[in-house]
Symmetry: C2
């Protein structure tokens, strides 16, 4: 992988939309419009040109009759012409010296036209053009303003209401690589709603050239990216994938959602992408060997992403749980044990310190301090703060889950609670994750403030615990490779630099 | 269980709040205030009286010095006095002829005061008083307006913002029985946000008298209740529980979330409720025997509740999947197979009919009709409608999951799509569940309209599939007991009557 070759996909200097269209709902129109808008808003620095043999202007912009007429300097072509014209477009691009193509067009191997796909690949190779796609959605990079997601932000319902339909997540540090375009856009919608910031979204479709392995390699050195998410149904070359993932995962977590786990799912995948999904156990082993953390559905994928981008892995499996709801503590404990973590009964210095505070009247008379630290319904914000301080400085736990159900009377201001917990967690090398259950304004606000301060927050206990367990598995891998300390050091430095 | 004995908890004629308080944040104040408000709004038909020896009026209402001074006709006492006074309050209630008590007060066995709890139980038995609690939150019944949840709806943040904090779900047909008060209120918040309507919420705390078994029996004949949810950490009398659940589950689904599954979780439960959680396998077996469907976290509990209250169980394990996102179809297929369902390749009449429609140009050229029925990104609302009709009338599938990702251009109006799918599903005896991924306005609206029309809708494919698998397990149980047809008949009739 030569970095310069892939740079134009993410940080282009000038973009040509080949197949820019006047028809409002066509991909060639939507892409051209969004890129022009991003340029007008100053989000996109690259120049934007349209190519359409039958038009003089589109959206008030002059368009070019052919690729050869384009001004010099174009380094990225977004190809949105019917499949049969794609090879000749690439030919023209090659002659013009444009060395990166996002081929949006469908109608290749996914519909049995292997021949056309081979012709495309051949032409690209001849000219040294790097290709994303075909049959893909391309790239959305909030940092550079590249956006080839050809689905408009809004839809207008038949009653006239205009509703947000395909939102784009804001700037962030999570990259999302998706083999499926539909899963990709659905995932963007999900991510935007969960408030997870994006570095780059890449839909690579039939991956005739650039594939997941090369993208992972590229993102290893991408400044904007801290965590790499992957949705795949198959891997083209297992060995290359393992090589790339093994190398990258020492520096940045790679989290994969691999669909087609079962026989029937694998059959469905084959009819979807004409790809053999292969035996799941082989993927499982490959992921394990290369330090790739596996998620089993979209919810896990993004729950883990939040945790990994905000918190370091714990040095061990021991979780401390602080709660004002005994039942929530029990559920968290169950899930911890079921997912490979431990909830040790506190016996040493931490327990002594907690008991001392209880005697002083800091904790309620009937609080249970053995772990879970159950502050009961009489809990106050202050108690959460004190308990967290003790657990953070204790050598009896490696990570902490704070279950701060906002309903209790002693938390008059859930935002204030989140802020105070967040401020303490900020400097902790032990991961701290939080939970508040429900969808009331108070719950949503509490979780949002937690996340603004770097504490990933979840609406049910089990999701937080599973995310911590995934962090722990990653830490175990890093330790085996002898880079745990180095990773944590780098992570803490990076996190501090983002404040 | 004598029904009349428990009626006053849910449908009282006159309520006395014993320990009504002037201090704004005290439970005795919040409960009194909310009951008075519900009465003023006409939601609560029962009369409401306060008892406080030291006050003449509270909130502008005359209060009584003692229980004995109360007017006649009170059939429910809500007891909010310090623990040590509870036995004497029950004594007074007994003499006054009040035969139902919700004891909110804490400070009994959960803090080691078994003696006080025994005294309470003894007094209640002597007078034939039925007791909910102690150490509980009591009852919230949106249908009758009873509400002893002593947490105010709103909190006022330190910056002056008033935010919704403990919302109450609206009227509906799902009952929630919770051993834990905190889990209960957190669950109410969750339920309200998910738009799941409630029949009754009961927090039964230390269950010195009325327990989960008796409540299940009671709700079997409750008109408002169609599905019973249970959060428990232990069961007092296994045999009675199995008897009650076995009987009720033939008529209404009982879904249980039992915490304390692991050894550590069990230890946590013991310190929470002083209850021995017991070996999980015993619970698992008891649930199985009595037809209780098990959920493993709050998300599953409510995902299942939605499905069970809106859809009948499928007659078999075969799922038909319709999608416009191939990847979503693959993920749904995986989860179906992993959770005991089947995704058979369509080969008979359904396939023929689908292929015929494709030839007619109703489906896209490259659609895959084998199951998942993948309509591809070229899908339109019309195609979903046509595919659903074929699957509903086919004998090759028993239940249907519609994955209608709203982003594609061919769904200009996701609300219209949901409405059309919902209208077809309405009369189907096969369960239909839906998915649209994400949190954009379009996704949220599409799911809401689906649910208004009786199709449970989820934000990721796996959650819908797991809910269908739970419905299937319930159907298998009903078949074994020979009441499948009868249940479905009753359910369909009930559902139709609710339109």
């Amino acid at each position: 992988m030569r970095k310069e070759e892939l740079d134009p996909f993410f940080y282009p200097k000038a973009i040509a939309v080949i197949g820019a269209s006047r028809e409002e709902n066509k991909p060639g129109h939507v892409i051209f419009r969004i890129l022009l808008e991003n340029r007008r808003k100053g989000i996109l620095k690259a120049a934007v040109y349209g190519v359409n043999p039958k038009a003089d202007t589109i959206l008030g912009e002059k368009v070019y009759k052919s690729v050869s007429e384009l001004p010099p300097g174009v380094d990225l072509g977004v190809v949105v012409v019917p499949a049969r014209f794609v090879p000749s477009v690439l030919e023209e691009m090659g002659r013009k010296g444009i060395r990166a193509a996002i081929v949006i067009s469908a109608g290749f191997s996914e519909v049995g036209r292997k021949d056309l796909e081979e012709e495309l690949a051949e032409t690209a190779r001849k000219h040294g053009i790097r290709v994303l796609g075909p049959n893909c959605i391309g790239v959305f990079s909030p940092w550079s303003g590249v956006d080839t997601v050809f689905l408009p932000y809004h839809k207008t319902l038949s009653d006239g209401r205009k509703v947000l339909s395909t939102p784009r997540p804001g700037k962030g540090h999570v990259a999302l690589l998706s083999q499926s375009g539909a899963v990709g856009t659905a995932a963007l919608d999900y991510m935007a709603g969960e408030g997870i910031g994006l570095s780059h979204f890449v839909s690579f479709g039939n991956k005739v050239d650039v594939d997941e392995a090369e993208l992972i390699e590229y993102l290893e050195d991408d400044e904007a990216t801290r965590v790499i998410l992957l949705y795949i149904e198959n891997v083209k070359e297992g060995r290359r994938f393992v090589e790339a993932a093994s190398k990258t995962s020492l520096k940045k977590p790679v989290i994969a959602l691999k669909a087609g786990r079962t026989e029937a799912g694998s059959r469905a995948a084959a009819s979807h992408t004409a790809a053999v999904a292969g035996v799941d156990a082989i993927y499982e082993a490959a992921f394990r060997r290369s330090g790739v953390i596996r998620a089993y559905d979209l919810q896990e994928l993004f729950d883990y992403a939040k945790a990994f981008v905000k918190q370091p892995p714990p040095p061990g499996p021991r979780v401390g749980i602080i709660t004002d709801g005994g039942g929530a503590g029990v559920m968290a404990t169950d899930m911890a044990e079921l997912s490979g973590l431990k909830v040790p009964e506190l016996k040493g210095g931490a327990r002594e310190e907690l008991e001392r505070l209880k005697k002083k009247g800091v904790f309620p008379e009937f609080s249970q301090l053995g772990n879970p630290v159950d502050l009961t319904g009489s809990a106050t914000t202050e108690m959460f703060v004190e308990a967290l301080k003790v657990l953070i400085s204790s050598d009896e736990v490696d990570g902490i889950v704070v279950l701060a159900l906002h309903q209790v009377p002693g938390i008059p201001d859930p935002v204030d609670l989140a802020r105070r917990i967040g401020e303490i967690a900020e400097s902790s090398r032990k991961p701290v994750l939080a939970v508040d259950t429900g969808w009331s304004e108070a719950a949503v606000l509490e979780r949002r403030v937690f996340e603004e301060l770097g504490v990933p927050a979840y609406p049910i206990p089990e999701r937080a615990v599973k995310a911590l367990a995934a962090l722990y598995r990653y830490g175990v891998y890093l330790s085996k490779r002898g880079v745990f300390e180095e990773y944590v050091e780098n992570f803490m430095e990076w996190r501090a630099s983002k404040k």
